[in-house]
Amino acid sequence: MLSIKKLSVSVEDKEIIRDLSFNLAPGTVCALMGPNGSGKSTLANALAGHPDYKLSGSVVFDRKNLLEMAINERALEGLFLAFQSPVAIPGVNNLVFLQTLYNNLRKHRNQEPLDATDFIQYVNQCAKQVGLDASFWSRGVNDDFSGGEKKRNDLLQMLLMDPKLMVLDEIDSGLDVDALKKVATIVNQMRKEGKSFILITHYQRLLDYIRPDEIHVMSKGRIVSSGDYSLVSKIEKEGYGWLETVS
């Protein structure tokens, strides 16, 4: 699904990620952990094609050279990023936005667009799974949404786009326990369908609901430790102090 080889990411000549490599097979979940500022969000944004970053190395996504794909092409071909802090777009009606991106995707897949009535029915169905309701349709995109509501709105977009690879950047920050369980249900279901996930998180709690296949720990732009679930309890107990000795 995803194969990253010797990826370096820099912004204005400052190297943020260096020589990073890992693979992710279809239907697997990896967790990306590491102290603040270690480059996790940068990796997520760089994969999505954020224009601030210069990349070198190679990234193959679903047998395609990701680095040559336009931002929207990556999205349409199945790469989804749930943002650490989703931006608000005031004035743009949330429902119109959801319908626009959904029908745009259908067009890309050579499907007929859904009309307003059918779309509302479909979006309401998806919204239930993430704990949103119709009261969010008439508002601006993420406009005056609480932190948790923004995350849910991102997850709703994820369900609509039905991607192949999803990067969830600190999806557990701002979400209550009930919402976390909803996320776990969705992720566990989708991985069964062969979808892959990168979960960026600081906390064991999320990983108790979603058992990752692999853990990568980042520090100062590199993966400094990889392993199985036991790494999580080590971090939970000891924090990241031990990384100093590793790196």
Binding site: A48, P51, A75, V87, G91
Partner: protein, 480 residues
Amino acid sequence: MPEKSVVDQHLESEYQHGFVTHVAQDVLSKGLDESVVRWISKEKNEPEFLLKYRLNAFEYWKSLQPPNWAKLKINEIDFQAISYYAAPKGKPTYNSLSEVDPELLRTYERLGIPLHEQKKLAGVAVDAVFDSVSVATTYKETLKKHGVIFCSFSEAAVKYPELVKKYLGRVVPYRDNFFAALNSAVFSDGSFVYIPKGVRCPMELSTYFRINSMHTGQFERTLIIAEPGSYVSYLEGCTAPMRDENQLHAAVVELVAHEHATIKYATVQNWYPGDKEGKGGIYNFVTKRGRCEGRSAKITWTQVETGSAITWKYPSVILKGDDSVGEFYSVAVTKNHQQADTGSKMIHIGKNTRSMIVSKGISAGVSSNSYRGQVVVRQTAKGARNYTQCDSLLVGSNCHANTYPYIDVKQRNSQVEHEATTAKIDEQQLFYCMQRGLTEEEALPLIVNGFCREVFEKLPMEFAAEVKQLMELTLENSIG
């Protein structure tokens, strides 16, 4: 982002209404003197008072110099190089659509304004003005049943001289400014609307202005009168062919709202803006003003300005009646070398009068977009309130946005608030939309339409979709 991104390409989008209609035309030879003023008046069979009015205005205009306070970069206008009248050959007025040249009907159809009985827009009565004359007005009979008069200004001058005499120049006297004086001397055509007491006009009224001839000026004159307790919603649209020369459109629009009457006046201005290098385009110098004559009268101006090389206009409201309300909602988009200097004036005279100004300026390319507004609270206007909000959005880094608010308050017991913001188009918002599968070209108008939402909501529903599309076309290739 690559250095030359989609934004630059956006700037290259083509003007959609740039074609010329080939019909036989009567065009007055270039130049302006008293005989031209007399000729126009005679051509239109105008009553004596109107000729006098024109001549007085012309005398006054001759004593004036063109204004330059708005600091616009402007090629000097040679007023002797303009023709002051152009009309399709044939009868100056048409009694039925069957007398209208089919070529003209096709023109309006191409512009999305079908005039034919069978095809005409539902729920919207249209007056179509081609260069200097009105060629057709739809739904006249339906309106007549309600006592509503909707016709060309020329027709009104002949058929309803008392009304025209009573109101012409009441709101915008010819002494108001240089272009108002010029317009008062040589105005060609425009719309006349009269809504009788207590009548709610049963449909949207709309005028469509089209400049077709070369070297002609268009001097539109519109007058709308709403008697006590009446209601009317009016929309004007404008286009012109693509030409290398700068053409002048100098309009005067006067609105009078009596006690408890409401006038909503919307403009979608899409005159030819000139080419990428700034060559050609319409000079749009317009004086628009409404007067809330009686208690609780209400006038709302809504404008979407995307065209013209230069726009110079400040739709205003004189709030004379106690408790009267004036509103101004504006979206002005400039790109390439366009210049817009636009805003509103709210003159509070009556007690507890309220006004609201919401201005959204979007600049791209090397354009310049200014808000210029004035709020005056006279001593008599106890309890008056104004709220002004000006938001500017910059697309690219070579454009300019300015805000010039002038506030003049003579009554202590009043409240005037002004808020202004300027921001660049938010890269994070663009990225967010693109991560969801939209291209930059698709994301930009979505975000800009959101930025303008408060204003677009004020437009008649019939035109909402059209305006959204116009914005998409205008913003094509304009990210920077």
